[in-house]
Structure formats: C-alpha cells, structure tokens
Symmetry: C2
Subunit: 141 residues, 2 copies
DNA sequence: ATATGTGCAAAGGTTTTGCAGGCTG
DNA sequence: CAGCCTGCAAAACCTTTGCACATAT
C-alpha cells in the first residue's frame, strides 16, 4: 500500500475539482508541491519536477504556480524582495520567518489573535491578511 | 522661513547620527525619501533624485536604501514579488495594501492589536512583525 | 476550420556583485 | 602609500510576455 496521502491520480482530481485543466506539467508541479510538507520556492519546485530529466520549463513553473494561487490551491508567501514561497497550506495561518536561514514556519490561525482591526477604506473588502513574524537567532552578548 | 521639516543639512545630521557616512549621494537620496510622506519604490526615489540631471545611479539607490534599512532609517515593505516600498516611518505600524492599484496606506500600531502570540522558537528574538492587510475594491454584483 | 488553451524561449524588470577610483590615517 | 570606503557598470537573478503549437468544437 501507499503510505503517502498524495499520488498523481489524486493531484489530477484535485486540479480538476478546482477548475484547472490537469495537464501533465500541472500534475507534476502539483505533485511536487503537495507531496512536500515544506515551503518551497519556485526554483526548488522546478528542481524537484526536473530531477531526473527535463519535464517543465521555468516559465511554466511560474505560470502554473500563479494559476494554482488564483484557484486557491496554493498560497504565496512573500518574505523578501524576489523571494516567494509557495505554501500548500491554504487555510488561514501566519508565519515565523528566520531572517538568517530563510526558513519559514507555520503559525496556526488559532495561535494568534488580531483585534481592533481598523475600518476598511470605503467599498473595499479584505482579500487576505498576511502576518510574518521576522525572527533571528538571539545574539550572544 | 522654511515650512518643511526637512532640508539637506538636517538629512546630513540624521545620517551622521545613525552612523552612516553622509556622502552627497546619500544626502540626496535621504532628502528625497524623508521629505516625501509617501511610500516610494526605488525607481520613484531615483526619478526624484535625478529629476533635473543625473546625480546617482540605480545601483547606488538600491545600495543606499539597503544601508538605510540596516541603520533603521527606513523600513522595507514587501508586498509583491519584486515590489518593495521604502517607508520613512520606522515606528511600529502596519499596512493596508490595495491589490488593484498598488497603493499602500499606514495603519497606526494603536489601531490593531495582536495577542496570543505563540512562543518563539528557542534562542530567537523578534526582529519585526509585518502585517499587510490586502484589500480590493468590492466587486459590484 | 475556427476558437480556445498551453508551454516555453525570449524579453523585461529588479537587485546584487565586482571592481576602479577616491579618501584617510 | 596601504587599507578601507564608495559609487556604478555590468552581471545575475526572478518573473512576465508573446507567440507557436496543440486541443477541442
């Protein structure tokens, strides 16, 4: 039996359910993304997909991840200029970011409460609330 | 009399107090940044500095803004991959980000309360807490 | 046959690097 | 004059675009 919750057939179904045409490139990218529990950069995803032989171009990795994000299959986490992570966890949650190592750690939404949110500008609605707690190794004085 | 709180002499003093050698390029960039109350991109800052004739190169704008950020003279606000704003307000505060127009609006720290912060990983300390509330024009159904 | 969708090479934009020239002690 | 600092041209990097090819009606 297969101990992993993900296989390519399941990815295919998830894409179709989300309204994304499940082409082979998209299934490969989705598999690399979902079967990892980590926060991956576009570069890392491409390396995994193309580990054995070239399967997708970099442009397709970017375009596909953008498409997944539109369909709420993945969440973009922006931590540095030119450094986007793709987080397969799309439920509401926040992040610790290790400034030194570049690692990203989830904070469950239940662990952090935001209150007294100010009134939104007129005729606007919230798309998302991003919270990144930037931490560093405590300096040894 | 001068009605603006900023002039180049004052910028020079602020740089020196922060431990940044106040070269002419840095004073020009600092003046463009501090005398504006807006959130400017590196590109916009360069346009202001070089409005009349070339004063600094793009590389120097980037390097100088990075230097200012290290010395807490400016705060980098990252809202999109490859889109950094420089915010002369370095006190604790948060941001609304208009997804559609790219505008950024300050939220005073007093307007938003974060509680139940989870325990930090061992031997780490908070550098900064970034909160970006991404908003969009409400769709007209 | 026409229209729509897809993947990628090439282009575009942003940020970093490496080094020539200047300044300081 | 030796060593450090500064500014910038060029390089590197990340992301988007435009188009050729494929697929569906």
């Amino acid at each position: 039996m297969n101990t992993s919750p993900w296989n390519k057939q399941k990815v295919l179904e998830v894409l179709r359910d989300a309204g994304v045409n499940p082409t082979s490139q998209r299934v490969e990218i989705g598999y690399a993304l979902f079967s990892s529990c980590a926060h991956l950069s576009a570069e890392e995803i491409m390396q995994r997909v193309n580990a054995d032989y070239p399967v997708v171009s970099k442009a397709t990795v970017y375009n596909t991840l953008g498409l997944f994000a539109e369909h709420a299959l993945v969440r973009e986490v922006i931590v540095e200029p030119g450094k986007v992570f793709y987080d397969p966890n799309v439920s509401a949650h926040y992040h610790f970011y290790y400034v030194d190592s570049g690692d990203l750690i989830d904070i469950p939404a239940s662990s952090l409460e935001i209150s007294n949110l100010p009134e939104l500008p007129p005729d606007t609605e919230i798309e998302r609330v991003d919270v990144v707690i930037r931490i560093r190794r405590r300096s040894t004085h």
